[in-house]
Assembly symmetry: C3
Homo-oligomer: 146 residues x 3
């Protein structure tokens, strides 16, 4: 049993975001194959020769996008779980999770399609708002016990 | 108290994988010292001079291996914990955790020893199977409540 | 409800460390703007031209600091949560969390200010001690059930 409505909502969006990250890893691999740009000599050798052990701007872009996901989605997995335990209203909690989810999906799209600035930065900031909000609510909840 | 058999099994493999990541960090540091290849001028200065602030292919390999661990082991820590709460059969859950664990250990070995492709990619895919399986089961569990 | 004293203490330091990581991301962005060193052509174009799509040593330093946080703070979020469930003494648990917290704050300061080696390495090792201690206690707890 997973428990409350808030928790289920959190788990739903979190799992989707993890799948989104997995898809990004697959895209990176496909770009490496298509552009013949591998990070390791052993991979390059298998796909035509060690001259293909080289960097590529679009592979670098995918890696930056994935790294930004790690920097932001992983903390959300923690903050969202703890926040869910503080007993928030379902409607309020859902907004937090949904805004983060939509912000991070837009961030990935903006990164991969190299959308005009500041689309990506806007998506990043939008997604940070619920995270900082949850962090503050968690700290207030902890403070009320101290 | 940590609770159920499934949970204990998950905690066991997860903790071992975190220790594996810590060992990788130690290896990276040792390679930096042995090859005299430091990322920071202040480190290079302490070990012979700023000319040793330089990159090294094997250090880069260690860093890629560690990064790939972050991309895959951290999501497992989340998915495995939530999956454990959905009440899976112990035998089925154990297979999920064990396959992931073995896949990730093989991935690290293949990376550090630069084993012939596609050994490393094979290990990556093997480890992803239980993760995607858990993600799907979690989403189905959540959907059954919605 | 968040529960026990140990748990509250863990949540408190963990949330502060996540906020510390968010601040590091903001610093990185500010350094990019001030030094005019952007990772993406679309960002550079918005801030003066594509010639500003370039790397910068201090931006690289911020990125290494942030990455090291991911390598160490994310595993702590997992180990600390599980360790809290094993029923440790509050006084002992608090020392674990506090040492990790102080070690990681010092690590960031040492990195960003490029303090003389081995200050940063010292902070890294100090912060790893409670992590390895928690990992061992978790494994012993799991073993006692097996």
């Amino acid at each position: 049993m997973l428990g409350s409505e808030v928790w289920m909502c959190f788990i739903f969006y979190s799992t989707l975001l993890i799948l989104k990250m997995y898809i990004l890893a697959i895209i990176t691999g496909q770009v490496r194959l298509r552009k013949k740009a591998f990070a390791n000599p052993e991979d390059a050798e298998r796909h035509g020769g060690t001259q293909y052990c080289r960097s590529d701007p679009y592979v670098e872009r995918c890696l930056r996008s994935h790294r930004n996901d790690m920097e932001n989605i992983f903390p959300f997995l923690f903050l969202g779980a703890v926040y869910s335990m503080t007993g928030p209203l379902y409607s309020v909690a859902r907004i937090h999770f949904l805004v983060f989810f939509l912000g991070r999906v837009l961030h990935s799209v903006a990164y991969l399609l190299a959308l005009k600035a500041p689309t990506r930065s806007f998506a990043y900031v939008i997604a940070q708002v619920p995270c900082v909000s949850m962090a503050i609510q968690i700290l207030m909840d902890v403070a009320s016990f101290a």
